[in-house]
Symmetry: C2
Subunit: 206 residues, 2 copies
DNA sequence: TTGACATGTCACCGGCCGGTGACTATATTG
DNA sequence: CAATATAGTCACCGGCCGGTGACATGTCAA
């Protein structure tokens, strides 16, 4: 008997992360978490008030959806470069972030099935950051930028989730680093098409 | 007692569709399906050999992922218009198809979680059709078209699934017809950017 | 030291699950 | 009519689930 409440709480929270990374949300339950943590399930009720409370604690604890570097701590956006560069950086950051965060992916997966304290919390931060970035493009009206940005990030999200149950999507390898470099690169050139530097230059390379 | 094997089989298959549309795949199980069909569960084992067999039968029965009109029955592709027009038509078809097919959406959702006879069957037809369309753009090398097409269709898929648990994605309304018209329109103008008719015309409207 | 409290253990409940064996009722065929 | 195959019913099993009450054990303060 360890008799250390804080340590036990931490063990439980880490067990949740472990379970998510290992087998996704489908097997998440009081029994499974307690088993994984090597702790009696009644403690989950006592310390967190059940699954919901544990989810809330987990959402606060972990850095599930880090802000891109371009968004400073103050929430201000670094405007050092043009819109195309901002877009490219965001895409690169988003791809890498998702690729190296299995737990975040599992929660995004979960989010498509049901809502709970965890998914809601993640969805909220994501929505806020998305709006923040999109706001930069307010005066760019040649295309419906919010729609395009939404579809592209949604597409990246989908492909990163799909990689768990498939290797290929429309011929694109979605499991290897190489495949993801191709995806990033392809999107980057799309961005260049969307934001032509100027018409003269465009005329020149034809 | 009805004593009509074929009718009972149909009842079971339809119960599966009903359940999927009603409450998604999470509640799918022998007991639930039998209950929904008003039939004893042992018949599912006898007639289909269990869930897997039922899934296979269901996949054959239903038209879960209809081909777009542009792909004729022979598999040939109608080349009546230019690449931009083909892309736009495909996007429109894909959005509408997903929006009006709750069962297909549920299976796509399922596909992100686990694999079974149903999800594999749907994934296969989808992959084939995707490659067929993308093949049309083989000689268009200005951008990595397969990547862009994959990300866009993946994005549409994600947003259509996400609409079950959220109303908004980066400020875009993803639940109403109006919101989806905006998404279609936004992508259509993106396509126009990707396939400029010619440089003279492009120069003219600036 | 002793009592009170916090921490952790254990056993049990009802409910749903997938799966199966034994049964009944109907239809068919000789 | 009788024998047999087929369609459908029913009861039961073990296992896992979420949830709870009763208990044991350690800690700390009066």
């Amino acid at each position: 008997m360890e008799r250390d409440k804080d340590k036990t709480k931490k063990k439980i929270i880490e067990a949740l992360a472990q379970l998510l990374a290992k087998s996704g949300f489908s097997n998440i339950g009081i029994n499974a978490i307690a088993r994984e943590a090597g702790v009696d399930k009644v403690l989950i009720y006592r310390y967190f008030g059940g699954l919901s409370g544990l989810f809330a604690a987990f959402a606060e604890e972990e850095n599930l959806f880090p802000k891109p570097d371009m968004i400073k701590k103050t929430g201000e956006v670094k405007l050092s470069s043009d819109l195309a560069e901002i877009s490219k950086n965001f895409i690169r950051h988003y791809c890498n972030m998702l690729r190296k965060r299995p737990v975040t992916r599992e929660i995004l997966r979960w989010e498509l099935i049901e809502r709970n304290e965890l998914t809601d919390s993640l969805a909220e931060t994501r929505e806020k950051q998305g709006l923040q970035v999109i706001a930069l493009f307010d005066n760019y009206t040649e295309i419906d930028f919010p729609v395009v940005a939404s579809v592209i990030t949604a597409g990246i999200t989908y492909l990163s989730l799909r990689a768990k149950t498939a290797n290929v999507y429309s011929g694109i390898d979605i499991t290897s680093d190489k495949g993801w470099e191709r995806i990033e690169q392809g999107l980057v050139s799309l961005i260049d098409k969307m934001f032509p530097k100027n018409h003269l230059q465009k005329e020149a390379d034809s």
